[in-house]
Amino acid sequence: MSATTFGSGIRRREDPRLITGNASYTDDITLPGMLHAALLRSPYAHARINSIDTAQASEAPGVVAVYTGADTDGEIAPAPCAWLLPDSDLKIADYHCVAKDTVRYVGDIVAVVVAETRYEAYDALDLIDVDYEPLDAVVEPKKSAADGAPQLHGEIDGNQAFHWTVTGGGDIEEAFSEAEVVVKETIVQQRLIPNAMEPRATLASYTPATGELTVWNTTQNPHIVRFLCSLVIGVPEDRLRVIAPEVGGGFGSKIAVYPADFITIFCSKKLGVPVKWVESRSENYQATTHGRDHVQEIELAATADGKITGLRATVWAGMGAYLSTAAPGIPTILHGLMLSGVYDIPAIHEDVYGLYTNTTPVEAYRGAGRPEATFMVERLVDLLAAKLGLDPAEVRRRNFIPKFDNGHDVVTGLTYDSGNYDGALSKLLGESNYEQLRAEQAEARKHGRYIGLGLSTYVEICGLGPSQVAGAIGFQGGLWESAIVRFHPSGKVHVMIGTSPHGQGEETTFAQIIAGELGVSPDDVKVIHGDTDNTPMGWGTYGSRTTAVGGAALALAARKIRDKAKVIAAHLLEAAVEDMDYDDGKFFVKGSPDSSKTIQDIALMANVAWNMPEGVEAGLEATTFYDPPNFVFPYGAHLAVVEVDADSGNVELKRYVAVDDCGPQINPVIVEGQVHGGIVQGIGQALWEEGVYDDDGQLLTGTMLDYALPRADRLPDIEVHSTVTPSPHHPLGVKGIGEAGTIASTAAVYNAVIDALAPLGVEAVNMPLTPERVWRSIQAAQGRN
């Protein structure tokens, strides 16, 4: 591999166009004759629709059409749920794209206006008269499970979407009945609202003469959008082209295919002209999927010397009013299977109840299930340390899975690929000067200052994943990835991939992979993605899988190119293939590197084909479909240092140190960027972010004035370190790094705050740790003393 390309922190080639306003997003695209759609959304969390009067809106200036559920019924199938969780009594409620007779969350779509301008469309929305009969609502998952709770879907008993369990290892009852120590906690993983910089948008252009449909969509997975649209709208896949132009972030909220997308397509089909819909930021808060929303009752059994003997949990997961595309797999497969964390835990049992509530549907949100799992485990370990009077680092060490480099089975049924958890923690303690920090903490306490240290040692599952496993866990698709590598006559390269990066930087790192495998300059490689007409089928960008799976496909395609090039080079150098050697883009006879053929020479010859070896096809191009043999399991150890002002309850994050291991880093600067962004999103959950509904189901945090996103001036410099443990089964040894920071950081910050408050007797505070919550917990604890 060329040392200057693979592994070097070259600048992201995406950035110049992104930061100079030259990128083209869905809303930047304007087609001749294009109309604009605006959606009327329910202001009630739960209501029956008695009648809808659209007469006035239909007559309003510029209005071309107004449609309600009566018009779309039978023309748009319900929005599909595509993760059919097995053995869970899964009950999928029909998610009508336009509500028929009942609305079930604030934001449920009731009507659509198509007009000549966006302003006219919004003006006409005000003229639609809907007669609602409000019904009782329920917004919290545990309350939704209770007797007497308002019922969302008549045919589904007790609002229960599913009941899933994971049981592994020894007898869990025995683990607890014989435990020398048990610690317990109830945790609320509050609802989070993803805020991609670019709101969602769809532009649909249907050509009646040919029956062809092109859809521009803010999606993380255009090939899935095409597949689902063909099923829901009935345009055959060969006539359906989906383009994800520049996509301004997603964090999971752009995985789902939404009712609004299907409705926009319906309008274009109906009217025979292009129709564009772009959500407002308010709509984004109301109707783009949310994340988390668990109530978790958790407990840990251990010996008196701090060895964990069992972990048991019950989780009530709020799913929202309907099941979004991938929703059922998030609080189950991606959560429950990770409950062993980095520890050797001999018995694990978890029940997860998925519940319908009168809220926006919940989906994957950066980390998706794994932050919620890491938090549970890392809280319990800290509680155990506190109970036994041991340092949290020490309790972790007593329970770590020992270093392994080719497979370790945990009782939930997963086989981790490689890890050295103690190595990551040791590095963290060294880099952060942990012992000195503890001494400073003790000193500060003497002066009435409350400093806290919080650890989080995590492992996560990503690089989703083997398709056979996808089938077994009910995911209605494959999870392989594809890549085409095509050399042009001049030696320049096109790479076409089925994944769909939207900010992560793979246009750069994938060029670096090609550079590393074939010795070309990364500048000579263009990475093409996001258009179903010119990229091979692929399942998309989520679950930290783009490099972990798509990057593997690319490396293998490059190696096929190398094999073919070697045959051609041998022919040109009049040598036997077995005698050929390769180094950094050059092919030569072993021992004679001075007389060589470059990959560019071979590309030219393969493309003109004047002198090819017998039986070898012209062209220099390769396609790979790569189905990974296992997931990858990045891991690490994080430390947060906080200071709490006991008078006001304010938490200041003073230091954040991270050690992450994602195997060899293709571009360390991009890795660092992913780690930074990930950590900050997790800190957001710990300290600031919370989607709040009142009891009537009104969203109280529906704007950026109310929903507190992390801001740079509230954050310390993030100190990033790494260790390198290759994945044994990945062709490049790499693991995903897109979500790791988020998976680790919430627990680190939370543990730090509880550590800071320990002298005041505080044991738990609900997230986010707002000054008021912290202050109240101090008041309560002081009152008790």
């Binding site: 966006r118 008078d647 600031w688 109280l700 507190a708 509230r714 202050w775």
Partner: protein, 289 residues
């Protein structure tokens, strides 16, 4: 996110703006637009017309005049923050302006718009109340002056009538031995004040000879904290004296007036207000030169 339709007029003088307001009873004055435009985009208001006063000559800038600092209503938050005159003569005001929102907000938003809008969570009303500001208001029938105690009438209401324009705000130039400061508990999302405390103290011969403390954020309109002021006058401004005085702030907060929301309850704001009063006083005392 899409405002309803309105007509747009640009006034080139205060008189023209006043006349336009008479002609369009349903109109709104537009200054920096940083409170008004969001209201329109959320369709919370639908005025028939906007009268843009943003380019009226003479309504912008800071000058010193007969023991007063006179600030044009169109002066932006960024200009307030950067003003050397304010930094030395009315530190609390430049300090508070520098804490408003973010650079974009500070570059567009104006002091006049901020106080005319009179959002309870705004920073400047409490500071101007603390510093004893006077407000010059012009209408078609002439100009009048209102002092801070009467200007802020309640939640988002001021002494500016429908067809009037706030043209300038004056504050007494700081005297020797005086220092002022602003301390703020920012909402983590909006940056508006959950609690804002403005303090001005004068020290003569080692003891506090005058004190003015005003609070915003947690009340519908800014209030003076007389109990805190009384507790300080005549004392040396030691850390303990300041802390003790700050704890009197509750006396100035009528329970039923204190505001609460989903982020911070009224009970909590009342209970911790003293922390910010203390910070403002401590900083102000350190500035008494």
């Amino acid at each position: 996110m899409f405002a309803p339709q309105f007509d747009y007029y640009r006034a080139s003088s205060v008189a023209e703006a006043a006349a336009l307001l008479e002609q369009h009873p349903d109109a709104k004055v537009l200054a920096g637009g940083h409170s008004l435009i969001p209201v329109l985009k959320l369709r919370l208001a639908a005025p028939s017309a906007l009268i843009d006063i943003g380019r009226i000559d003479g309504m912008r800038g800071i000058r010193e005049e007969a023991g007063q600092i006179v600030i044009g209503a169109l002066t932006t938050h960024a200009e307030l923050a950067a003003s050397v005159t304010l930094q030395s003569g009315a530190t609390a005001l430049s300090e508070a302006a520098g804490m408003i929102g973010d650079p974009a907000v500070r570059n567009r938003g104006t002091i006049g718009g901020n106080v005319a809008h009179a959002d309870p969570a705004s920073d400047l009303p409490a500071v101007l109340r603390c510093l004893g500001a006077e407000f010059a208001i012009a209408g078609s029938s002439g100009t009048r002056t209102v002092d801070a105690a009467d200007f802020f009438e309640g939640l988002m209401t001021t002494a500016v009538e429908e067809h009037e324009i706030l043209t300038a705000i004056s504050i007494p130039s700081g005297s020797g031995g005086q220092g002022s400061a602003y301390a703020k508990f920012s909402h983590p999302a909006s940056r508006y004040a959950v609690i804002g405390a403005a303090a001005s103290v004068t020290v003569a011969d080692g003891v506090c000879s005058a004190a003015s403390v005003a609070l915003g954020g947690l009340v519908p309109a800014p209030v003076r904290a007389a109990a805190v002021e009384d507790a300080l006058v005549g004392k040396a401004l030691s850390a303990d004296a300041i802390a003790d005085a700050a704890r009197c702030v509750g006396d100035s907060l009528a329970d039923d007036e204190v505001l609460g929301d989903v982020y911070a309850s009224a009970e909590y704001r009342s209970a911790v207000a003293h922390v910010w009063v203390n910070r403002a006083l401590t900083a102000a005392a350190a500035r008494c030169g």
